[in-house]
Every structure is written in structure tokens, then in C-alpha cells.
Symmetry: none
DNA sequence: GAGATTATGGGATATCATGGGAAAATATGG
DNA sequence: CCATATTTTCCCATGATATCCCATAATCTC
């Protein structure tokens, strides 16, 4: 199972810990780092989550900018500087740092939302509202996906 | 765990020592040299930090310049001549040389900023201002990453 | 319905950041 | 070449934090 699917609501205990859904952990099992990478979304009031491989992939892509260029610098500031490695304990829980929960408005419950290669962590009510809006928007504009790009080709 | 992620603020004691974040030390653990490489940034008021492997990679890149050319000469002066090996003590602390702290305006607190393959060391307030600017710039210009390269990267 | 897996709670333990003193290494001066 | 001063490195102590471990309840699977 390589994709993050479905939505799970788990409790945040008084220590700030929350269980990562078992299916998400299974999706991350092949990774080198036993946990998740999390950073503040810069478009929504939520936390972005992914595996270390996703960050490695991002790093490779930023290598396409010239080293020490302004673009490379801005991008790495935005993502890598803000990202946090959250290792899970033997029971599969992570501790959510205060600045992340503050950004997402999370207090006693967290919603893990599958997004395919990544996932998000929301305040449950905030997510309900945001997802309903997204659904309305999709119906209004007849949202479509671009056709798949041909794989491979000259490097 | 090959990437430098997140931002950490550590104190500089009266001896000029500061703890390298444990996760950064872990990322540098495979290296032969038990410490970091540091040199003055020539784009910002901060200290650039990395491992020896990255310096070797830089050396390869300077090979793109003609040997003994002005560019090659400038680049190697800016980086290699200025770089210093800072070994950490048994507790994971390094001593920051005065010329580096002066360049970054660091006095009693240092911010270690993850940048992927490298990291930076800032005066905390200076970094807050610079990162906020970078964030605004990135959002304004809708900075995006080039599409994934056909080869390499996780599936 | 039985066994296994998962989510949750709380106490014990280890790790990390930090401070200060002792010992060693280096530099300075006669 | 030795004595002294200065710097650097090492060692130990401490508080705060994060991690581990065990126990229990809810859920899922077969």
C-alpha cells in the first residue's frame, strides 16, 4: 500500500501524542526513517505530512536550481527549515509540536486526511468545512485531471 | 536520515560553545569527520554549514570552471579558503570562531536552519525576518518546483 | 465468538541541551 | 629552553524533555 487514503480521527492526549493511523504507518514502513515528516501548510490551516522519501525527492528537485541561487534559498527555507521529523513510539504515536498544532488549530482531536503521496492533519471541524467547500467548488467548475504525461524521454 | 530538516535555537555559552542539534549530528554521523564544516555565507548574514561529503561535491562542481580561471579562483577562495572544520566535543557542542559569529551577528543564541543537504546558522531574529521575506516572495511569485525528473527519486 | 490488531492512558527511563570546573594543549615572553 | 598565561578540550552534574514500557479498552478479522 503506497498511498495515503481515507480520513481518520484520533485523540491527542495530554502529552500531545496522537496515534498515526495504522494504514499510514504501513504505507511508511519501507522508509528509512520510522516516523513522518510534518510542516505547516502554506495554503491552508493544516499540517502537511509525508515520508522521508518525499523530502529526499524534493531535495533532488531543488538541486535543479543553481546552488546558492535565490530560488533555491527561498524554497528550502519554506520547506526544509519548517519541516520536522516526528518519529513514532513503539505504539505508533507521534508527539505534535506546539507550533504545528497552533497553526492547524488542533487541540484534543486530530484528523488524518489521505492525499495520495502525502497526507494532512487537520482540526476535525475545520476540515469538515474546508472539504465541503472543495466539494462545492469541484461540482461548480467540473474539476478534471490533466491527461497523464508520457513517462521517460530524454533527460 | 540524510537531510537537515527543521530549525533549532540553541544557546551560545560564555565560552562560545553551542550544541549542534542531535538530528543534525545523526545526519552527519556517517561522515569521517566528527563535526561540521562552516564558512561565511556570501549571500546572507549567516554561516553555511554542511558535511565533508558536500564539500567534496562542491569541489566537483567547481571543475565546471576552467582551471585557474577567475571564476574558479573566486569560488574556491570564497568557500574552501574560508571553510573551517569544527569538531564537536563529547556532548555534541562546537566552538564558534569569532569571525563567523561576527559575520552572522550571533551573540547569545544561534538558530540552526535545515536546508536539505546543508544547513545555516543565523542570529534568530535576523532569520525570522529573512524567512518571512522568503515566504512572502515564494507565495507572491507562486514558486513551484520543476516537474520530477524522469530518472531517480522514489516511485 | 475467539484471537489479533489497534488506539489510548500513565508511570519509569533515557536522551538532550546546558552550565561550570579540571586537565591538557597551545601560545607568549623572558 | 623554561616559565607563565591563554586557550581549548574533556569530564561530570543537572533540569527539562522526549522516549520507552506496560496495561487496558475498543475494534477488526477469521
Amino acid at each position: 500500500m503506497l498511498l495515503f487514503l481515507s480520513t481518520f480521527q484520533n485523540k491527542v492526549d495530554k502529552k500531545g501524542r496522537v496515534s498515526v493511523p495504522a494504514t499510514f504507518r504501513a504505507a511508511l514502513a519501507p522508509q528509512s526513517f520510522p516516523g513522518i515528516i510534518a510542516f505547516r501548510s502554506f495554503t491552508s490551516a493544516c499540517i502537511e505530512g509525508c515520508g522521508m522519501d518525499f523530502m529526499e525527492n524534493l531535495s533532488s528537485r531543488t538541486d535543479q536550481f543553481d546552488l546558492f541561487s535565490a530560488e533555491q534559498d527561498d524554497f528550502t527555507s519554506l520547506i526544509f527549515a519548517d519541516a520536522r521529523q516526528l518519529a513514532w513510539d513503539p505504539e505508533g504515536r507521534i508527539g505534535l509540536p506546539e507550533d504545528l498544532t497552533a497553526h492547524a488549530g488542533i487541540t484534543d482531536t486530530a484528523a488524518f486526511v489521505g492525499k495520495g503521496r502525502t497526507f494532512q492533519i487537520w482540526n476535525p471541524e475545520a476540515y469538515r468545512a474546508a472539504s465541503e467547500e472543495a466539494r462545492q467548488r469541484a461540482l461548480r467548475t467540473r474539476l478534471t485531471l490533466p491527461a497523464q504525461r508520457p513517462e521517460g524521454g530524454p533527460a
